[in-house]
């Protein structure tokens, strides 16, 4: 029987290795798999390349992972937050590198990586500083840049419901990058508020089919990043 459920978040991230590339779902706190990230802080893997739209808030979740010195490179579109100096300090000190990617290009690169598309052309960023180092090419009289697919060793994803086959549905705008990252990572790990039986999720409404998911773990009552930050929490 196919059963992708693992018992704990610690089990779920146990094999993340040093220098791995890790995609982390979420846009701000919406969809941030905070319990999986904290398990990764505990687990200790370091020298990670992390792909996320942002760089976290306060000193919890992604910001905690960065603060712990585990992230050598961030690939993101918006590494600023009103309430976190964790990334800016490490970036300015040269300890964490940054690859800045426009948000839509980041999404499309992740999708391409998951879909077996090595590269594609996009009009975004033509004529801007982010064109630097990229091939420019004209199609039908308009200029485009060549962008490459992104893949990862692991993806950490937050879902609303999942089943043992790995089918996932999300909660509102928490969906954001997660379905794309699930496609692009070799090992996709999903924390879900409930694990249901196969067949309970209507096949018409499954957002991430199980083929893209390797592990699911139940986190029934996930923390909200904004509440932790407001309370001044830090992890560990």
């Amino acid at each position: 029987m196919i059963n992708k459920e693992v018992a704990t978040v610690a089990d779920a991230v146990a094999d993340v290795f040093d220098a791995a590339t890790v995609m982390i779902g979420g846009f701000g706190e919406a969809g941030s798999p905070i319990e999986l990230i904290h398990a990764l802080v505990d687990q200790g893997a370091t020298n990670l390349t992390v792909i996320n739209n942002n760089t976290g808030s306060g000193e919890v979740g992604l910001a905690a992972l960065i603060k712990a010195g585990r992230v050598s490179k961030m690939i993101c579109s918006y590494p600023r937050s009103q309430n976190s100096m964790v990334f800016p300090e490490l970036y300015r000190s040269g300890r964490t590198a940054l690859e800045l990617v426009p948000q839509g290009t980041l999404a499309e690169r992740i999708r391409a990586g998951g879909a077996g598309i090595p590269a594609f052309y996009t009009p975004t960023a033509v004529g801007t500083p982010l064109e630097e180092g990229k091939e420019r090419r004209s199609f039908d009289g308009r200029d485009y840049l060549l962008e490459h697919g992104l893949t990862a060793d692991f993806a950490l994803i937050k879902g609303r419901k999942a089943d043992r086959h790995g089918n996932v549905v999300y909660n509102k705008t928490a969906r954001n990058f997660s379905p794309l990252m699930a496609m692009a990572a070799s090992t996709t790990i999903v924390q879900a508020q409930s694990i249901v039986q196969p067949g309970e999720l209507d096949p018409e409404v499954v957002v991430t089919p199980g083929i893209f998911v390797q592990r699911v773990v139940s986190v029934a009552d996930p923390a909200h990043e904004s509440e932790l930050v407001a309370a001044g929490a830090s992890y560990p």
Binding site: F27, G28, E29, A30, G31, S77, Y78, P79, R80, F87, P88, Y91, R92, L98, L100, V101, P102, Q103, G104, T105, L106, A107, E108, I110, R111, T122, P123, T124, A125, V126, G127, T128, P129, L130, Y170, N171, K172, T173, A174, R175, N176, F177, S178, P179, L180, V207, H224, E225, S226, E227
Partner: protein, 209 residues
């Protein structure tokens, strides 16, 4: 500015409002116009902010503020959301600006300061893909420097992408001949605006090139 801009938004339009002052536009759109708001983090049919206490941490807009979803809304992932943007499906976006050039170049994501953390978000995607790009900005910086300039000195967001600018002093189109004044704010003279602009303005009703 937001109020004036809102008058130019047509009923039936699909609109993305940038973070900050552009977000205010929605409140001023005449009530008889049904406009559908897109927020690039994955929602079409975005409604107003929730009542106090009724918000949800996972129902937010691109500015990471809590919002609501109107009847007829849809959630989707980022690749689909930016397909809407890049594919030219949105009618209009309204953005802020650091500088706009007479050729319609926009700089709105970075001052290029050495110690700044560069952060671009979806701005470059929006200006590259959305059919019409409006900018809302104060006419000058707090120091009185022109923001409407011959050519931008700050890093660009896009080249030749801006269609119209709403400032505290005027409404200005980007025409083939540069900044074309469409409308002056009440009590403001053309000369007053020209003095505060870093490139030649064409007067209202003048040759639009």
């Amino acid at each position: 500015m937001a109020e004036r801009c809102a008058l130019d938004i047509q009923g039936g339009a699909y609109v993305n409002l940038g973070i900050g002052i552009p977000e205010l536009v929605a409140a001023y759109v005449p009530e008889d116009r049904e406009v559908i708001y897109h927020t690039e983090n994955g929602l079409l049919g975005m409604g107003p902010p929730p009542a106090p206490g009724a918000g949800e941490p996972e129902l937010i807009n691109a500015g990471k503020r809590q919002v609501t979803a109107n009847p007829g809304a849809a959630y989707f992932h980022h690749a689909d959301s930016f397909a809407m943007i890049r594919g030219g499906h949105l009618d209009l976006c309204v953005l802020g600006a650091l500088q706009v050039s007479a050729a319609g170049d926009l700089a709105n994501w970075s001052t290029g300061a050495r110690d700044a953390i560069p952060a671009v978000g979806g701005a470059m995607d929006l200006v590259a893909g959305v059919k019409t790009v409006y900018v809302i900005t104060q006419h000058t910086t707090r120091d009185g420097d022109a923001k409407l300039v011959e050519s931008c000195t700050f890093p660009l967001t896009g080249v030749g992408v801006v269609d119209r600018i709403y400032t505290d002093l005027a409404v200005i189109d980007i025409g083939d001949a540069g900044f074309q004044v469409v409308e002056l704010s009440p009590g403001v003279s053309f000369e007053y605006v020209q003095e505060r602009t870093g490139a030649r303005l064409l007067p209202v009703g003048g040759n639009r090139g």
